[in-house]
């Protein structure tokens, strides 16, 4: 749980360094896949509005490069994040100019 908070704490939004972004994304994916399915909902509840938006951005970034198991886990996170953030959250992922 704290790992989730920590990994979402300082997102590399303003940097142009692609490496930094990839490393951050890898970390987030690791944390997200290490969660048990039953804990996902609690994890999402522990985030505030900004956090949910940020989580959604990472989820979509994760969708861009699917590995063997990642999509299933990401879809579960997506469903929970959607119920917390609503469609507006996804719209913000699509319209955000600074990507995670």
């Amino acid at each position: 749980m704290e790992a989730l908070q920590a990994v979402l704490k300082n997102p590399p939004i303003n940097t142009k360094n692609q490496n930094v972004k990839e490393r951050a994304e890898g970390l987030v994916l690791k944390v997200l896949s290490s969660f048990k399915s039953s804990d996902i909902e609690k994890g999402v509840q522990s985030l505030d509005k900004n956090g949910v938006d940020l989580l959604m951005k990472y989820i979509y970034k994760g969708f861009e490069r699917p590995s063997e198991n990642s999509s299933a886990v990401l879809l579960q996170w997506h469903e929970k994040a959607l119920s917390a953030g609503g469609v507006g959250c996804i719209v913000r992922v699509l319209t955000a100019r600074k990507t995670v």
């Binding site: 997102p11 900004n50 609503g86 507006g88 959250c89 719209v91 913000r92 319209t95 955000a96 100019r97």
Partner: protein, 384 residues
Amino acid sequence: MAYHSFLLEPISCHAWNKDRTQIALCPNNHDVYIYKKDGTKWNKIHELKEHNGQVTGIDWAPDSDRIVTCGADRNAYVWTQKEGVWKPTLVILRINRAARCVKWSPRENKFAVGSGSRLISVCYFEQENDWWVCKHIKKPIRSTILSLDWHPNNVLLAAGSCDFKCRVFSAYIKEVEEKPGPTSWGSKMPFGEMLFESSEGSEAGPSEGAGAAGGGGWVHGVCFSHSGNRLTWTSHDSSVAVAEGGKTCTISSLRSDNLPLLCVTFITENSIVAAGHDCYPVLFVYDGAKGSLTYGGKLDVPKQAAAKGISARERFQNLDRRASTTQTSEQTIDTLHKNSISQLSVLEGGRSKCSKFCTTGMDGGMAIWDVKTLESAMKDLKIA
């Protein structure tokens, strides 16, 4: 709530006359149709054919009874009614892209046109030449102007643009008016001066390092409050924001969970109604003391939810199609408008105590909403 479906085509824009018996609208083509209310029916009484491109904005000046229209053909026409016939006068806007929106100023001696050529044309009538002349506001607009709204003092103009910012400019034309007094947005107002710019994507609330939204979205709708001290705008990143003019120009924004809102208006000094791609109007309440914006509720005709039992077959079908076993009757939209709402206008009561407002949308329909009925229908609704 009255709903009238005019045509099958989307209504691009509409405007009402002073006593709300006639409505001018553009059914997504090059013309403007004027309908007159006759009991419960609407009859088309005029067709204004002059534009060569889609008519993107219509505004009807209530007192001087003039209509200004602007279109994708880069022109604007001012229409005056003589002996029951509407006659157009061309206004040269000097723009090289389509015009997107047009608004008469409160005193109806000038109007502003927002366009895709990244500038606002403020037009006024020059008596000596008997001709409409325009002045441009260019800096620092970087993209199409999507929406405009005038401040009650006839000088300040708010513009929402595709470069993700909402700005307030001065549109003071010395040929037609006196120098304006100071307002909460500023005191020196030469023409074209930018008095306020929203830095879109900035949060007024606490951000725990997770940072701001970063970027924002196109600003679709802007509206000044009745006093002119508050400005609200809605943006494509599904957010609504209110800025209060003054020395400390505070911006409070709310990211909503719905689809982006396209149009917004104040109905009292503290309450905002906005509508957009979700096909229903939404209420927001702004608390000036706390500087906070909260979601008030969904304003729509309450539908009787038919609670049908779901059969086992339907359950498996849903599981197959939608990977969920819940019965969601989302094949039919249960809102009044069946497609996005593109424009909102106040009918009665002005922006300080609105009692009726009207919405038109892409479904070709127009709905008139009564604030009192909505208040009594939705129990938790509080319109401050």
